[in-house]
Amino acid sequence: MNEIVASPTIAQARAAGPRFGERMLSAGARCAIPVYVLLALGFLAPLFAVVAYSFATPRGFDVFRTFTLENYRQILDPANTVWMSFAWSLGLALLTVAILTLVAYPIAYGLARLFGRSAGLVSVLFVFPLFVSENIRLYGWVLFFIKGGVLDGTLKAMGLPGAPEFLFTPAATLFGMVYVYLPFMLFPMVLGLSMVPRDLIDAARDMGAGRLQIWHEVELPLAMPGILIGMLLTFVLAVGAVAESKVLGGQSVIVITQDIEIAFTYAQNWPFGSALAVILTLIVGVLTVLGIGRLDLDRILGRRS
């Protein structure tokens, strides 16, 4: 493990001419200031505002002046069906992770091991959709699956009975989530698989290990950090996903983010929406902190030491 060693560069830079503030903070810490300021104002403060709002009087806007647990009580009230939205979101996210693990693993393996020089191009093909707004891509699937659309029309032109009803079902929502979050599973997996030294696999083979044994005892454990980041990232993003259920799912299921959105917009009940958002944030936050808390990011991102 590379521990904290004062770089000789920094020491020399200091010797060259100490300036204001350099004695207080190291060069690295000073470079981190702009990012920290942005995160404080744009991430921490908004979340704090949400927490504050969640304790305000329902349907009111008198934040910071009132304190009540009424919003949380409403969520826990068995008469309220909002728990179903949580269940749908969590269930769909779990399924998305399970399916994507299977879908992405062979591709990640190919990118890390087999594709060689064309791996760069294949990676670009998988990155590019991230630059196209997800609603454009999801709407493309609507055009594909809809009655009289690309799939249906093609099948009928071939003399077949046409496409089954798929659009505007929970399965279509799941399909959309698998589609949108593929890159978020794929690239951490590639990073993970790239961490497995080739020599080690060769050595295992020379000592007589079978393919399955190598995979199970060498490759998988060493690639696990990357795979786990991929699963975690996909899960937390899918739990908060909303476009898929609106565009492809036709709101056949209401996911939790849509409930939050409704509370913030049509219902104009910001405190209730905030309380829902706090619970969602807690789920996401606890998982994330547990998941990335013990990671050695230098190793995963490829630091040479």
């Binding site: 904290i4 470079c31 995160l39 991430f43 591709i107 670009v124 493309g140 055009l143 659309g149 975690l232």
Partner: protein, 271 residues
């Protein structure tokens, strides 16, 4: 030459992986192609196979003043996001990968938090926060919202490249008597340009295509993805897939252009 069963199995799995990858790539681009097909439909309503094709909707989209304004708003946002994100993330990446300092391990994890957070919820939280501050929403507030998510991504993109940076080069320059500014200008930046460019590319394209953050934070201003969404929900015309295809082609052109530029620069002999 006969292969061992092991080698044959390996070859079989390699073929399966190549086929599977090809299939998934095809699936990824299917909806984008469907959008393109729908945009060249002559009639207003989409039926496949198309009865008649025409570029009429592309022309209409191109000539529309309303869409011109959307594009300008989206471009202004993406441009501003790129400039600010590259500057902040450049220093962010130095702190991430270049320097060893006391708080680095924690910092590396904190930077990831906005990436590990559902964007629609972040957008709503920012809406609430701007409101609590009494700010009016506009495309500028959306720029700030984009930065919260894009700066961490760009920091990572740049950091990955910076890991391969050899600190000895900087040291040598200091030893030869260069000042800090000189070292930055003549040693550090030239080596880091590729990372900076890819960071800028990510910043621009991610902002250009962002929908969930823009939705809640642009106020009365409208970006291209927002307009598309509004029309998908109510009031479909083939202008929706036409503008979607244009946005996709524009993103691809930027990516391709940058890729070619990078290749040309790499081939040029070092000065």
């Amino acid at each position: 030459m006969s292969l061992s069963p092991e080698a044959r199995a390996e070859r079989r799995s390699a073929r399966f992986i190549a086929l599977w990858t090809g299939f998934v790539v095809l699936a990824i681009y299917t909806p984008i192609l469907c959008g393109f097909v729908a945009s060249v439909n002559k009639g207003r309503y989409f039926r496949f196979p198309l009865a008649k094709t025409s570029m009429e909707w592309w022309q209409k989209t191109f000539d529309s003043i309303e869409i011109g304004m959307l594009v300008r708003t989206s471009l202004a946002m993406a441009g501003l996001v790129t400039v600010i994100a590259v500057v902040i993330a450049f220093f962010g990446a130095l702190a991430y990968a270049r320097y060893d300092w006391k708080g680095r391990r924690l910092y590396q994890k904190l930077v990831l938090l906005p990436i590990f957070f559902p964007q629609p919820v972040l957008g709503l939280a920012l809406l609430l926060w701007f409101n609590a501050l009494g700010m009016q929403m506009s495309w500028q507030t959306a720029v700030f919202a984009h930065l919260v998510w894009i700066v961490p991504v760009v920091t990572l993109v740049m950091a990955i490249q910076m890991y391969s940076f050899d600190a000895a080069l900087e040291e040598a320059a200091f030893d030869l008597g260069a000042s800090r500014l000189q070292v930055l200008r003549e040693v550090t930046l030239p080596i880091l340009w590729p990372g900076i460019w890819s960071g800028a590319l990510f910043a621009f394209l991610l902002s250009w295509g962002n929908f969930p953050l823009s939705l809640y934070t642009t106020g009365p201003d409208t970006s291209v993805p927002e307009w598309l969404y509004a029309k998908m929900v109510a009031g479909y015309t083939p202008m929706v897939p036409a503008l979607g295809s244009m946005a996709t082609i524009a993103a691809a052109a930027v990516l391709l252009g940058m890729g070619l530029l990078a290749r040309a620069l790499r081939k040029r002999p070092a000065q």
